[in-house]
């Protein structure tokens, strides 16, 4: 073979326990760059996360990829204070629970994802990392 095909790298949800992140608050973004009803993905934290500002102005964070079929929640839409996945429109709240599926009669009890503590301080959005709590 005289030419090598380039294989693109795929998205991953890193194991937050296999990083060298230290326990504490970590700056992930600046407050003024995240408007109400907007979501962003953060790649340089202990794992990939979605951070969004709900209708009430409060910032929240979850694991980036939907626990249902794996889509990036940052490609979805903020709905109220939760975030709705672009793939099947499952809505997740800041505790990591799915609280709405438009086409289901019942939300599966296992529909849970990992949530992250967030605060805003001195113009920065900070996310808490503690390996003992992960």
């Amino acid at each position: 073979m005289d030419e090598k095909l380039i294989a693109p790298e795929l998205p991953v949800q890193k194991d937050p326990l296999s990083t060298d992140f230290e326990k504490g608050w970590h700056k992930v973004f600046s407050c003024e760059d995240l408007e109400v009803n907007k979501a962003i993905s953060i790649d340089d934290f202990a794992t990939q996360i979605v951070v969004w500002r709900g209708a009430d102005g409060i910032v929240r964070a979850l694991d980036l990829f939907c626990k249902h079929m794996g889509a990036s929640l940052a490609c979805g839409e903020v709905d109220g204070n939760g975030i709705r996945c672009p793939f099947h429109a499952w809505r997740w709240n800041d505790e990591g629970n799915c609280d709405d599926i438009g086409y289901a009669n019942k939300i599966p009890p296992k529909a849970k994802t990992r949530s992250w503590k967030v605060k805003e301080e001195d113009g920065s959005i900070m996310v808490w990392y503690d390996p003992e709590e992960v």
């Binding site: 194991d15 626990k67 079929m69 429109a89 438009g102």
Partner: protein, 286 residues
């Protein structure tokens, strides 16, 4: 290891027939270079009409021409084909147009495309296309999805029957009522893996000719369908290129038989001796 970081890519390309292109793209005495399966493939249409196929590394894989397509057989184990796609009469009929073709590249493993067959729940959010009935059936190397819908965009009284024959060749029959007239069409959705994390979708659209329709109108009509499908695939690609693979998804009561579909697909990713039992599923509504 944490359950949600298991995102392993299959260790091989699936076994089956793969479309290399429309027959008309292979002209006598011309050699076409096609990238697929992490290789550089070449296909030459010879003077006698046959195609000489070189898969590199001194390998020559089986090749067929069927339903207007040139297809190659790929098998990790190197065994001979055990099925062939069924003949579609419309592909050989003057009552139907030829396939209009288009293709594009997706950056993910080709298994991502397959989930759509059972993924009842994504049509609304991703394609804004609610439907009425949804059926699936798995039988040996085939997987069938039937759907009925009534949509202002896709058409009234829409019926579609999509069928995979093997892991990479899907054909769809579709009928819908547009402006009071019944329109019948056929889609081809085929793909060719380039690497383990990229694949090319080659799709085709043909329509049943409407008596009295001029060739220009027919061409424009087909192009309209190609564009509509391009648009719909664009919606899927935006998801596919920004997702991880969940090997064992938590499903809800409104989801289709995703686990069953994945089991069906897994038969093409193992040696024949290791093929899973229980891949068939009677036709069922979901």
């Amino acid at each position: 290891m944490n359950r949600d970081q298991i995102n392993e890519i299959p260790d091989r390309f699936p076994r089956g027939w793969f479309v290399l292109g429309h027959q008309r793209e292979f002209e006598v005495n011309e050699t076409r270079t096609i990238y697929g399966f992490n290789r550089k493939l070449t296909a030459t249409r010879q003077q006698d009409g046959s195609i000489k196929f070189d898969a590199g590394d001194g390998e020559s894989w089986p090749i067929i021409e069927k339903n207007q397509m040139v297809m190659c057989w790929h098998d990790h184990e190197g065994t001979a084909p055990d099925y062939e796609p069924d003949k579609i009469d419309a592909c050989y009929s003057d009552d139907w147009s030829d396939y209009g073709m288009a293709s594009f590249l997706v950056k993910n493993n080709c298994r991502e495309l397959i989930d759509n067959m059972a993924d009842k729940g994504h049509f609304g959010p991703v394609h804004q296309a609610p439907f009425e009935g949804f059926w699936n059936e798995a039988k040996d190397h085939t997987y069938t999805q039937e759907m009925t819908a009534d949509s202002p965009i896709l058409g009234r009284d829409l019926f579609s029957k999509a069928r995979y024959e093997g892991p990479a060749y899907m054909t769809t029959y579709m009928s819908a009522v547009h402006d009071g007239a019944k329109v019948e069409s056929r889609l081809l959705v085929s793909h060719l893996p380039l690497t383990f994390t990229s694949f090319q979708i080659n799709f085709g659209v043909m329509v049943k000719k409407v008596p009295g329709m001029s060739p220009e109108d027919e061409k424009a009509f087909i192009q309209g369908y190609v564009d509509a499908n391009n648009f719909a695939f664009g919606q899927d690609v935006a998801i596919w290129e920004n997702k991880i693979y969940i090997p064992d998804p938590v499903v809800c009561d409104g989801d289709g038989p995703l686990h069953k579909l994945r089991k069906w697909y897994s038969q093409f990713l193992v040696d024949r001796a290791d093929m899973p039992k229980g891949i068939n599923m009677e036709k069922r509504e979901f």
